[in-house]
């Protein structure tokens, strides 16, 4: 009996059973539609997370939607999609604070409208948006013994860098910053405060020439230190380009002089100079790549000389370099900048905050017009200090009378004033405009404060800059001995032919890059 059971379960009989009875039943059931059809709940996916504002029933409009577009080729700003939580903060700042996003008609033409100001970086709560990292380019140059790496540091980085190492907001780390740069291997450390002073001389002279009618350019003169602001004018107000000062920004002046003046004085081959700048700004990364910013190469008539500034690093990137090199920042000694282009005045250092350029300019304009030192009241020009978006002041200069000036920070504020200007209502002689609210001290390249962007942090950083100015031995740009030296030895005089060549630039209209807004009341697309 047992042997018969084994025989009955042969392979052949088993397959006959499966292929015949079971298969027939299975196929019949399937073809006649038995079994549960798929329902929405069984579908793959769909169990994830979305920010609450997007979980409204139906297609209800929400206050904030999505995020700003960022060109993969943007020289200043990059985004990590994996970190993006679609909170919409970048749109909030870009559209409402900077009035860039949404201030054009759709469709877009070719490129995204972006002034590279980097405020979206400061507002992004998840760290998805950040500066384009150029640290490796600098490390490579530092490792090359044939290259002289010259670095300049902007006024505002000295009061920001400390925050990356746990110091209180606004701590002045000027000396430690110089020490850290030397330790990283930079051959020469210069201060952009020097060219901030030089900017005052050039821009101040230009202003005086405009006012006296010697230069046929319209008044008010507008500052051109801020590359985000300059690009904003080129995009949205090309008809006001003649109002922009032709003076380059301090960074580009220093860059041009490093490859000409410094190279000549110290007998270094300009082709072997690698010029780095440490900036509180992402727009500077765009600025240094502008085709106009190639003066040294033009001046020396040598196409092998690289652009005036080779690489711009933000304050955050410098902090990363210091951390990567394993330098204990807090215990560094205080060191001094190198001579030749490393001395700045109190007027130069306050370039780092809104109102600072104006205050510095007023001090030197007083000197340029009257030939006398400015009174002490001009060393504390309170109407242009503080975090209001638009500030006005009238400065009495003997022989000229009351000079009206305006200080603006934040591009949405600037847009309002520019519209007013276009309507013919501009009683000012000189206007300082900074793209970022609060000026460079809260620029797109500064350390991300532990709190969201606030005027409290801006005020603390600004107070630190004003404190440096108050304690400075020299508080007027025109008193800077190195400025006197460079005009005596190299540039002859402000706005001389050589100064025009190296320190002044021109601008291009970018109005054709997009379709202008047809009506103002339709704010969102």
């Amino acid at each position: 009996m047992a042997s018969k059971a084994v025989k009955n379960l042969s392979r052949r009989s088993f397959l006959k059973f499966v292929g015949g009875t079971a298969g027939l039943v299975g196929i019949s059931l399937n073809l006649t539609g038995c079994g549960d059809p798929a329902t929405a709940d069984e579908a793959i996916g769909g169990n994830g997370w979305m920010p609450t504002q997007y979980n409204a029933p139906g297609n209800w409009p929400t206050n904030v939607r999505g995020r700003v577009p960022i060109d993969p080729a943007n020289p200043a700003i990059v985004r990590d999609d994996q970190k993006c939580i679609l909170c919409g903060q970048c749109i909030e700042v870009c559209e409402r604070i900077q009035s860039v996003f949404g201030n054009y008609e759709l469709p877009i033409k070719k490129d995204f409208v972006c002034v590279n100001c980097g405020q979206c970086i400061q507002w992004c709560p998840s760290g998805a948006i950040s500066e384009r990292d150029d640290v490796n380019k600098v490390f490579k140059a530092l490792a090359d013994p044939n290259v002289t790496v010259v670095v300049q540091t902007a006024p505002a980085t000295r009061i920001g860098l400390g925050e990356e190492f746990g110091m209180p907001v606004g701590t002045n780390v000027q000396g430690k910053q110089v020490a850290a740069l030397r330790k990283l291997g930079f051959d020469v450390v210069f201060d952009t405060n020097f060219t901030a002073d030089l900017t005052i001389m050039e821009e101040g002279t230009e202003l005086v020439k405009r006012v006296t009618g010697e230069l046929h350019h319209p008044i008010p003169q507008m500052t051109s230190c801020c590359p985000g602001w300059v690009k904003f004018v080129e995009y949205f107000y090309p008809e006001l380009i003649p109002n922009l000062s032709s003076a380059k920004s301090p960074q580009q002046m220093e860059g041009a002089l490093i490859k000409t003046y410094f190279a000549e004085k110290k007998e270094v081959d300009p082709k072997k100079i690698f010029s780095v700048s440490i900036m509180p700004c992402t727009a500077k990364k765009f600025e240094c790549q502008r085709p106009e910013m190639n003066s040294a190469s033009k001046e020396l008539n040598d196409s092998n000389v690289s652009p005036d500034v080779d690489v711009v690093l933000t304050t955050r990137e410098l902090a990363r370099m210091i951390k990567r090199a394993g330098i204990d920042f807090a215990s560094l000694p205080e060191e001094e900048y190198d001579k030749l282009m490393g001395t700045g005045t109190g007027a130069g250092v306050i370039f780092g905050t809104t109102g600072g350029v104006m205050e510095a300019a007023v001090r030197s304009a007083y000197f340029l017009i009257t030939g006398q030192q400015p009174p002490a009241a001009l060393w504390n020009l309170t109407p242009v200090r503080g975090m209001q978006g638009v500030k006005e002041a009238a400065v009495n200069i003997p022989g000229v009378g009351d000079v009206k000036v305006a200080v603006i920070s934040g591009l949405a504020n600037a847009r309002k004033v520019m519209d007013q200007m276009k309507a013919g209502n501009a009683p000012w002689a000189f206007m300082e405009i900074m793209a970022c609210p609060g000026g460079c001290e809260y620029g797109g390249g500064q350390p991300r404060a532990s709190s969201p962007p606030s005027d409290e942090d801006r005020n603390r950083r600004a107070a630190s800059l004003y404190n440096i100015d108050a304690k400075a031995k020299l508080r007027n740009s025109h008193d800077n001995p190195e400025i006197k030296q460079i005009y005596a030895d190299f540039l002859t005089a402000p706005m001389s032919e050589k100064a025009e060549e190296l320190l002044h630039t021109h601008y291009v209209s970018r109005a054709d890059d997009f379709i202008p807004k047809k009506s103002e009341d339709k704010k969102i697309f």
């Binding site: 929405a40 793959i44 997370w49 997007y54 297609n59 993969p72 999609d81 697309f525």
Partner: protein, 258 residues
């Protein structure tokens, strides 16, 4: 009743919020290689940037328009046909067209034959070749959200209104209105293509230059085979009955399993 999405191509600014929203809601994995690709790269890929973990993607096309070179961004994903070929080709009923519009896929019913991929006229289905137990992946049109009266994840985050969620019939009327107002190409892609789709596209630049399958039939694809495929169950069951009868007749009087 049936929902749809209208894609207004000239309104897209290429911010890719939609593809990030898709990743978040559907918990799709991030691939380092995919992450580094730009919309321009994806437009040149044979599969329009769609992968098992990329259910939607933005493709950038550089085109000529009125003598000017312009960039246009196109969102790709499942079109959610009104009468989907994938559903009709799936004998295990893993695909289903919901009355609200979404064409959904349930992996627990899938046998992995990939007939659906052959059937799809827009080539949007992706097979998980790298997995031990693979399935087919595609946009589900956020079926659970739509069933809960919410709009799809991608449309809910679009900052410019380039993608709008709503009733398909209303969107179709809106699309025709926008074509007239803005001087777009006189065609709503998805109105009739493959018998109509839930997703509708309008554009001011020619569709064929942005890798749309403009030569696709306007007949619903299952209608080509419906006539004779309907008879399949009867033929199957009938044929089986005949064979079973023959078997019984031939083996009369024999011992079973002998």
């Amino acid at each position: 009743m049936a929902k749809g999405v209208l894609v207004d191509i000239p309104k897209c600014i290429g911010c890719e919020s939609c593809s990030v929203a898709c990743k978040l809601w559907n918990e799709l994995e991030w691939d380092e290689q995919e992450k580094c690709k730009t919309a321009e790269d994806r437009a040149k890929e044979p599969n329009n940037g769609l992968w098992p973990e990329e259910w939607t993607s933005i493709n950038r096309f550089d085109l000529e328009k009125d003598g000017e070179s312009v960039a246009r961004y196109v969102k790709t994903q499942c079109m959610h046909c009104e009468d989907p070929a994938c559903v009709s080709s799936c004998f295990s009923k893993a695909f289903q067209k919901l009355p609200e519009g979404p064409v959904i896929y349930d992996q627990s019913l899938c046998v992995g034959c990939r007939y659906c991929m052959m059937a799809c006229p827009f080539d949007v289905l992706r097979y998980e070749w790298k997995k031990a137990i693979p399935g087919v992946r595609k946009c589900q049109m956020c079926a659970t959200r739509v069933a809960n009266n919410q709009e799809t994840a991608c449309t809910s985050v679009c900052p410019t209104g380039a993608i709008t969620f709503g009733e398909r019939e209303e969107l179709l009327a809106e699309a025709k209105k926008r074509i007239k107002e803005n001087g777009y190409v006189d065609r709503v892609f998805g109105e009739k293509e493959a018998g109509g789709t839930s997703w509708l596209y309008i554009s001011d630049t020619p569709f064929e230059k942005m890798r749309f399958r403009t030569d696709v039939t306007t007949q619903p694809l299952p209608s080509y085979t419906e006539g004779y495929m309907k008879a399949t169950p009867f033929v199957g069951v009938g044929w089986a009955a005949i064979l079973a009868g023959l078997y019984v007749y031939n083996n009369k009087g024999k011992e079973p399993l002998d």
